[in-house]
């Protein structure tokens, strides 16, 4: 049984303690326990170390999405909003799902009701279309990001590990980056009045966890990993699938790699 998306589950059986003691222990120190379970410790960009420090320069992240596996359940979009405290209204998304229906008359219909968070309205018709599928979308964390290029003050930037972030305490809210993003990945946060977008769950990956959307995907349609590391699940994904990126002609060098992406997807 292969588990593509998860980076190594401990194979040994848990100790035979009494559940009550174990639970009491975890209740007190659950964050530390969580971190110990995945064997990495809290990093600090300013350089203070606590044990094994997270070195951003040792990583370079990307994501793989297999369109052929997405079932459009919307768990990813829902988990993302919960994990990142994204406003729940249907106008603000870090990630969302699109449904494409390519009809036999050539017309393509695309929809994304509330980003796909509550799933999609049931369609029982089985005829009249050639192809239909779901496509998850998110910030592509481009290697050549037009959003970072246009930020007038340096509030949005790329970290050494390839994640494009926004510093909400420095952003002036000019919205130029939102205009410059070809993928519609950014929005202005209604409360902070600064630009916001998917962070690849940076607060999770720096602790050795997976982004929330990757973790909850039931079919393993999303793969997270290292772009340059041969042993990463992402490398296998990019080896065995024909990879497309969105809007390649714009030369933004996206780091979200799509397998089985249809030409109708823009």
């Amino acid at each position: 049984m292969t588990n593509q998306a998860r980076p190594g589950i401990p194979a040994q059986s848990p100790p035979a303690d009494s559940p009550l003691d174990r639970r009491a222990f975890l209740k007190k120190g659950w964050p530390a326990t969580l971190l110990l379970l995945v064997a990495k410790v809290v990093p600090s960009a300013s350089g203070e170390t606590k044990g094994a420090e997270y070195q951003a320069s040792e990583h370079y992240y990307g994501m793989g999405i297999d369109v052929g596996k997405c079932i459009g359940c919307g768990r990813c979009a829902d988990a993302c909003k919960t994990e990142n405290d994204v406003p729940r209204q249907p106008f603000y998304f870090f990630t969302w799902i699109e449904r494409y229906v390519i009809k036999t008359d050539g017309e393509t219909v695309v929809e994304s009701p509330n980003g796909g968070i509550e799933g999609f309205p049931p369609t029982l018709t089985e005829t009249g279309f050639l192809r239909t599928f779901f496509v998850p979308k998110l910030c592509n964390h481009c290697a050549s990001p037009p959003c970072v290029q246009v930020c007038p003050v340096g509030a949005t930037f790329t970290t050494p590990d390839g994640v494009v972030l926004v510093g909400k305490d420095y952003c002036i809210g000019c919205r130029y980056c939102i205009q410059a993003c070809p993928y519609g990945a950014r929005f202005l946060h209604p409360q902070t009045h600064t630009a916001a977008k998917c962070t690849f769950c940076y607060h999770r990956v720096t602790k050795g966890l997976l982004p929330a959307c990757v973790g909850v995907c039931p079919t393993g349609a999303r793969i997270f990993g290292e772009v340059h590391l041969r042993t990463s699940p992402l490398a296998r994904f990019r080896r065995f699938n024909e990879i497309q990126v969105l809007k390649p002609h714009l030369n933004t060098e996206p780091k979200v790699y799509y397998a089985n992406l249809d030409g109708e997807v823009k």
Binding site: P10, P14, W30, V38, A45, C73, L165, L209, P218
Partner: protein
């Protein structure tokens, strides 16, 4: 130097000096350390709370469930996909119990029939499939293999089965054309059924000299669409479709 220039120079020097001094006090201390941005911004983002803990965390207490779950068909489904974020539960296990979806409405989110889902994904009609009963009556969510599978292939390949059922090929079992091993039910994408390889296969029934029931339409295998494989024009699950 003309008086105008000297006066202007004084004014501009004062202005520029003022800007330089202001800059010294106003630019954030961590700016520029890692790049053209405030390095402290990274710290602020990293310090955010984690809400989804991941299945390793669940396994530390619920190892019995995890053991069953990791061997069954829902092994790729994260605990938190159905039970929601687990951080609050880890902090205060008895006060914050994660919800366990028990109603009929929860499972069709993934398993309700939608033609946009990939072929072969197990789907049911949420209205017609064992109406009213909660799904968990028959399916243990941690080991959801159904108690019995009435139609071997149609359980996952419903659309194909429905299409074939009203076609001229309705009475043909799927296995007549697709050799399938039992492993396909365990790892469907890795152990795929075969597909017919050549025209002669269809000719076993449809050739002029084939030994098959009289009512089956015959064609001259040598001349009929001789450059093509049969299925390039005739959809095998609905061969009379024009």
């Amino acid at each position: 130097m003309p008086q105008q220039i000297s006066r202007l120079l004084i004014l501009f020097t004062l202005l520029i000096l003022g800007l330089v001094v202001a800059r010294h006090y106003l630019v954030p201390k961590t700016f520029g350390r890692l790049g053209h941005y405030r390095a402290a911004a990274v710290d602020a983002i990293v310090a955010r709370n984690v809400k989804y803990v991941g299945r390793e965390a669940c396994a530390s207490c619920h190892d019995d469930i995890v053991k069953i779950h990791s061997l069954a068909r829902h092994q790729t489904v994260a605990c938190e996909a159905c039970h929601g974020p687990g951080a609050a539960h880890m902090e205060a296990p008895t006060e914050h119990k994660p919800p366990a979806p028990r109603k009929r409405g929860s499972c069709p989110l993934c398993h309700g029939y939608d033609p946009s889902r990939p072929t072969g994904f197990p789907q049911i009609d949420p209205v017609a499939h064992n109406p009213v009963k909660p799904c968990i009556t028959c399916h243990n969510p941690h080991a959801p293999e159904p108690p019995q599978v009435p139609g071997e292939c149609s359980a996952c390949h419903g659309q194909i089965a429905r299409t074939k059922a009203v076609s001229h090929h309705a009475l043909l079992p799927c296995t007549r054309c697709h050799e399938t091993s039992q492993q396909h039910k365990v790892t469907p994408r890795l152990s795929r059924p075969t597909k017919p390889r050549d025209r002669a296969f269809c000719g076993e029934c449809h050739a002029k000299d084939a030994r098959s029931p009289k009512e089956i339409p015959r064609i001259d295998m040598a001349s009929h669409g001789k450059r093509y494989a049969c299925w390039q024009c005739h959809y095998p699950h609905n061969p009379e479709l024009r």
